[in-house]
Symmetry: C5
Subunit: 268 residues, 5 copies
C-alpha cells in the first residue's frame, strides 16, 4: 500500500463530497451525462494521444501508484558490499550462487553479466542502455496521466459549453437560468476535480518514483562495475554511500542491530 496515495485520495474525496453534502441538495451533483463527457472525452483524447500498447500499461501504472514498494537503498548497498567482499575473497565466479537470492531483476542481470565474464565496457554499455530505455518507458507512463490531466478540464469545459448553449437557446423563463447554469457547471467541476486529485498528482507520483528508481539503478551500475574491477569493499561502500543523504546513513548506523534484510527504506 502506498499510504500517501491512499490517504490523499481519501482525504480529497471526503472533503469535496463533505462540502457538497453540507450544502444540502447533494443529488444535483450527480450527472451521468457529465461523467460521460468528462471521463469519456478524456479517455478518447488519450486513445488518440497514445498507442493501445502504451495504454495497456495504465493498470500497472495505477498499481505502481497505489502500492508501496519503498526502495531500500541501504539494503542494496549492503548486498553490493557483501558481493564485493565475497568476490574479492573467493573470485567473481562464486557470485553465481548468490544470483538466485537477488530480488531486483536489474541487479541480477548485472551480476549475471559479471559472472559470465563480460567485458567491463560492455557491462556498462548494456546496463546503461537498459536504464535509458527504462527511463523513457517510465516517462511515457507519467505522460499518459499528465495528458489526461490536461484533457479532463478541457472536456469539462466542453461539457459546460454544450450545456450552456442548450440552456440559453431554449431559455423561455429567465428564472430557470440559475438552475440551468448549475447543471452546466457540474461538468467543469468534474473535470477540475479529476485532474487535480487524480491525473496530475498521479503523473507527479510516477515521475518522482521513476527518479528514485533511476538513482538506485545508477548506484547498482556503480557497484557492479566496482565489484568487477575488484575494488576494495570499504571504498565501494564509501562510493555508494555518496548516493544517500548524510543524515539517513547516520541514523542507520545509530541502530545497533542492523538487519540487512528488513531495514525499511528512508529515502528522504
Amino acid at each position: 500500500m502506498n499510504l500517501s496515495t491512499v490517504i490523499g485520495i481519501t482525504l480529497g474525496i471526503v472533503l469535496v463530497v463533505g462540502a457538497i453534502f453540507l450544502g444540502g441538495n447533494a443529488i444535483i451533483f450527480l450527472s451521468a451525462q457529465s461523467i460521460m463527457i468528462v471521463l469519456g472525452g478524456t479517455l478518447a483524447g488519450t486513445f488518440v494521444s497514445f498507442s493501445l500498447e502504451d495504454l495497456k500499461a495504465i493498470p500497472s501504472l495505477l498499481k505502481i501508484s497505489f502500492t508501496n514498494e519503498p526502495i531500500d537503498s541501504h539494503n542494496i548497498i549492503d548486498i553490493l558490499v557483501d558481493l564485493a567482499k565475497k568476490a574479492r575473497k573467493e573470485g567473481l565466479l562464486t557470485l553465481e550462487q548468490d544470483i538466485e537470492e537477488i530480488d531486483d531483476p536489474y541487479l541480477e542481470k548485472g551480476v549475471q553479466l559479471v559472472v559470465d565474464g563480460t567485458e567491463p565496457e560492455l557491462v556498462k554499455d548494456i546496463m546503461e542502455t537498459k536504464l535509458a530505455y527504462m527511463e523513457s518507458r517510465h516517462s511515457k507512463g507519467s505522460k499518459i496521466f499528465s495528458q489526461m490531466g490536461a484533457l479532463s478540464p478541457a472536456f469539462g469545459m466542453i461539457g459546460t459549453l454544450i450545456g450552456l448553449i442548450q440552456m440559453l437557446s431554449q431559455l423561455d423563463d429567465p428564472s430557470k437560468l440559475g438552475s440551468g447554469m448549475a447543471v452546466a457547471l457540474i461538468t467543469t467541476l468534474y473535470g477540475a476535480f479529476l485532474a487535480n486529485l487524480f491525473f496530475i498528482p498521479l503523473a507527479n507520483k510516477l515521475k518522482v518514483k521513476s527518479k528514485e528508481e533511476i538513482i538506485i539503478k545508477e548506484l547498482m551500475i556503480e557497484g557492479i562495475l566496482s565489484i568487477q574491477a575488484g575494488e576494495n569493499p570499504r571504498i565501494i561502500e564509501e562510493k555508494l554511500k555518496a548516493f544517500l543523504p548524510e543524515e539517513q546513513y547516520v541514523e542507520e548506523e545509530a541502530e545497533e542491530q542492523v538487519d540487512t534484510s528488513k531495514v525499511v527504506g528512508e529515502n528522504a
Copy 2:
C-alpha cells in the same frame, strides 16, 4: 489501422454528439460561420507559421497517425543477429544478397554502407546524421499539429467575441440575450473540441511514435556497427536486447515456435 486513434476519435465524437442530441435542439449546434472561423482561422495561422513544403506533409502525417505500423523490435534484433552470424561465417560481402530482403530503408542503407566497405567511423557518422535529420523532421510534423491545437481555441474565442459584440451592440430585446450568447459560444465549443480531440492528441501521437522509431534506429546503428566490427553474435544479441523491456523479451522466449518474420511488436 492505428486502432487507438480510430477508437479515440470515434468515442470522442459519439460522446459529444450524443450529449448534444440528448439535449434535444441539436440543430442549433451546426453553424457554418463558426466552422469557417475556427477551421479557417486555424488553417490561416498554420499557413503563416509554416512553409507550404512543411504543410504538404499534413496528409502523410495524418496517415501515420491513423495507420498502424507497429515496429517489431524483436524482428529487427533477429534480423541483425542473423546478419551478424552470416557475416562472421561467410564474410561481410555476402550480406549483399540479404539487402534486398530488408524492408526498412534505414537499415538497408546501413548494411549497404557496410557491404561497400565504408569506414566504420563514416558509417556511424552518416547513420547518425540521417537519424538526427529525421528526428528534426518528425518534430516539425508534431509541431504543426500542436500549433493547430493552440490556434483553434484562440480562433474559437475570436469567433465568440465577434458574435458577442454583434449581438450586444444590436440588443434591443433583452430576452434575446440568451439565444444570442448560445450562438456566440458555439465557436468556442468548436475550437475547444477540435483542439482536444484532434490537434493536441495527434501531435502527441506523432511525438510518441517518433520516439519509438528513434530507439529502433539507435538499435540498428548499434547492430550495424557491431556487425561491421565482427563482434560475437551472442554478444550483439545481448547488447540489442538491452533496448527492450525485460518482460517483453521473456514473454517472447516463452513462445516456443519463434517465427522471426511474423512476431508482432509489443513495444510496451
Copy 3:
C-alpha cells in the same frame, strides 16, 4: 514571395472580416482607441523588452517572413561535390576562381578560409562560431514576435478593462450595458486577432526558417572540412546526402535532366 505567409494572412483576414460583415453592423468593429491601446501598448512593451538595435531588425524580419528564398540543399550539395572534385584534381588553391560564383556568403567565407590555407581546426572553429552567433541572432528575432504575441492579448484585456470600468461607473441606463460591453470587448478581439494571425505564427515561421538554415550551414561546414581534408567526392556526396530526407533525393535522381543551377528546393 513566401506563399504560405501571404495565403495565411489573406485567408485569416478574409474569414474574420467576412464574419464581421455577415453580421451586419460592421462599423462598430472599427475603433481607433482600441487600435491605439492594443498596437501602441504592444509596441511600448516591446520597446521595453528589447533594445533599439534589436527592434531595427523588425522590417528585415518581416521581409524574411514574407519573401520566399527556399534553400536548395541539392544545389548546395552539388556545388560542394563539384568543388571537391576540382580540389582533388587541380589542388585547393584553384578554388579561388570559384569563390566569386558562390551566392551564399557563409559558404563563400568557408571556401575563402580553405583557399587561404587556414588550419582545419581553425576553419571549423570560425565557421561554428559564426553559426552559433547567427543562431542566437535568429532566435532573438523570433523572440521579438513571440513577445509581441504575448503582449497584444494582454493589452487587449487592459483596453477592455478600461472600457468596462468607464462604462460600469457611468451606467445610468442599464439598457446601455449591452452596447457598452460590445465596445469594451473590441479591444480584446483586436489583441487576440493580432496575436494569433500575426505575431505568434510569424515567430514560429522565423523559428522554422532558422532551423532549416542551420541544417544547411552544418551541411556546408561538413562539406568544406571534407574538401579541405581531400576526401573522395563520392564519399563527400554520401555524407552530405545524409542531411536530406531519403525520398527527396530519390525524387531528385528520377528527374533525368538534372540542372544543378535551377533545381528548386524541396526541403520537406
Copy 4:
C-alpha cells in the same frame, strides 16, 4: 531568521487583511468550509503527488525558508586557503586536526577523504555524487511547494464551483444571488492568496537557496581537489575567488580588519 520571508509574509497578510477590514463587513471573509476545501484539497493532491517520506521533509523545508543561514563564501574560501597553506607546509595528514572545527559536514567529509589518502579521482567522484544527489533532493523540496502552488488555486476554483452550483440550483429569490456569489468566491480568493503569497514564493526561495548552496559546494570541491594536488595557496585563492562577484571581493578587501570567522555573507 530569514528576514525577507518574514517581512514578505507579514506585509502580504497585513495588506490583504487590511483591505478586507477597510471594506467593513470583514466577518464574511471567514469560511471554515472554504479553508477545508482549499487547504485540505491542496494537501490531498500533494499526498497523491509525493510519498510520505518526501512530505516528512515539509517542516524542515519550511524551517529552511524561514530561518536565515547566509552562506559566507568568503569564510569558506579563507578556510580552504588556510588548509592549503597548512597542507603545503606540514603535509596533508596534519589536516586531521582541523576537521573538528569545520562546520559544514560536506566540507568536513571532503577533507576527511583527503586525509584518509583517498585517490583524487575517487574524492572527486564521491563529492560530485553527493552534490548531485543533494541537488535532486533540493529540487524535490522546491517541487512540493510549486505543486501546492498549482493545486491551491485549482481547489479554490473547485470550491467556488461547488458553491455556485449549490447556490444557483436553489435560487428562488434572485436578490440573494449577490450574497451567494460572494460566499462562493471566497474559496477562489483563499486559493489564489495561498498560492501567491506562500506556496509559489516559497518554492522559489528554496530553488534560489539551493542554487547558492550548489555554487558553494562546487567551490568546495574545487578547493579540496586543489589542496590534495598540493597547489599553490595563492593560486587556489585566485581560482576560488572566481566563484564570487567582483564587487563583493573588493568590498571585502576594503574592510581592513578581516575577521574570518565573523564576516557576514554578501551573496549578491
Copy 5:
C-alpha cells in the same frame, strides 16, 4: 539613457492614461487601496521568493535597464588585436602597461592573469568560472522581475475578488452593481498594466542584455587565450570577427576613418 526602455514606458503610459482621460471620468481610476494590494502584494510575494541580498540588487537592475551602455564589440576586438600585436613584438610582460587603460574589469582581469604568467589552463578555468557565476547572477536578476510579472496580475485578481465579495455581500440596491464592479476591476487593471508594461518587459530586457554580455565575454576569453598562445594577430582578428554578424563588420570597414575608441556598437 537606454532609449528603448524610456520610449516604451513613456509610450505605454501616455496611451493608457490617454485612453482613460478620453473616457472622461478619469478620477475613478485612481485607487490607493488597489495600488496597495497590487504593488504591496507583489512586493510581499517577491520578498518571500528571494533573499534581502538578492532584492538589494533591484535598484541596480533598474539602472541597467534604463541606462544604455551599448557594448562595442568592434572596439573590444580592436583592443584585443592591438594587445596581440604588442605581445608578439615586445613580449607578454609589456601588456602590463596597457592594463590600466582597459575599461572592462573582466578583460582587465584576464590580461592581468596572462601578464602574471598564469598557466593557460588556469586562465581559462578562472575566466570561465567567473563568466558562469556572472551568468547565474544575471539570470537571478531577470527572474526577480519575471516573478513580479507573475505575481502582480495574481494580486490584481486577489484585489478584485476582495472587492467583488465585499460589494456582492452588501448589495442592497442592484443599481449599484455596476459602479461596484467598476471599482473592483481597477485592481485587475493595475496588475495587468504593471506586469505587461514593466515587470515582464524589464525581465526580458535584462535577459537580452545578459546574453549580449556573455557573447562579449566569450569573445574576450577567446582573445585572451589566443594572445597568451602567441597566435598571429591576423588570425586572432579572423577568429574574433566570427562572433559578429557579417553585415556589421562590412559596414564597419566601409567607414574609412575608423576611430577605434569612438565606434558605436551595432549589435544587431
